[in-house]
Homo-oligomer: 167 residues x 2
């Protein structure tokens, strides 16, 4: 992370909406921005999720799932004409007692610079302003240490066990 | 489960709303009904949740959490004047790809008759009509066999690990 933040608040607000925040970038020529209100191009989002190995889903269903999500965060490579989506995460939940984080992804080209951690910090800060009691997530075994380093408790730890039911 | 169903569809609809369904009862004098639209008295709901050992929460926050839930199911002991809430479950989620079941409770007086299983069947049927891809839940260690018997997969099973983050 060599670059400090350099985009003006006016630019952040006009391009990326309320609550947008610049993300430290590994390259000073690349400006990265978190947004919770900038609209996604669903095809670009699907390409991002597929680049990290997730299965393809019908766009109509993805659109409905996003509409019904509590929080959607995009990590954008800033460009005044063609900002590109390079990271994503979303949460479902009741907005009060429970929230669950899903679909955390950073494009492979941008991995290895700590952007995933910054993305989770932005997500947790956003949930924190909503005053949510408890946040849960499911993660692939390969990223356990990633979450543990950030203070997440791996289950089962004797208190609770988690279950899947895949139709 | 000795009684067969005996309430008319008109009565179910008028008292308990669309999608209401009679639940097999351990006692023929007690009629039990599942509903996803009958309004809860929040104090009665809190009493039910406390009767199974959960901590008290501010009613204002509970109300908001219910408003933002994907599905709320009540199990009612039918009475034309004073139906009583004897079971509860709710789900959060995006209504398309993910749903998570929370707060499954059957009042201690009504436990041991298979009502919890019937409640989960009603919840899963309701989610199934929404065509949701995957359902998750967190459960106390004491009820692991309860969920396993119903086809739930306990995590971690090598594919996914679950995490908590309690503030």
């Amino acid at each position: 992370m060599i670059s400090s933040c350099s985009l003006t608040s006016e630019l952040l607000l006009s391009f990326y909406g309320k609550g947008a925040k610049e993300c430290p970038s590994p390259n000073e020529r690349i400006k990265l921005v978190f947004s919770k209100s900038k609209q996604f191009d669903l095809i670009e989002l699907e390409q991002l999720l597929q680049s990290v190995g997730w299965s393809r889903r019908p766009l109509r269903r993805v659109r409905r799932a996003l509409d019904n999500s509590l929080l959607k965060v995009g990590l954008w490579r800033h460009d005044e004409k063609f900002p590109r989506l390079v990271g994503f995460a979303r949460c479902t939940g009741d907005g009060v007692l429970e929230a669950t984080v899903w679909d955390v992804a950073v494009h492979p080209v941008y991995q290895g610079y700590g952007l995933g951690k910054e993305l989770m910090v932005y997500v947790m800060d956003s949930l924190s302003t909503m005053n949510i009691e408890r946040v849960t997530l499911f993660a692939d075994p390969g990223v356990i240490s990633f979450y543990k380093r950030q203070g997440w408790e791996l289950e089962p730890n004797g208190r609770r066990c988690s279950f899947w039911y895949a139709n």
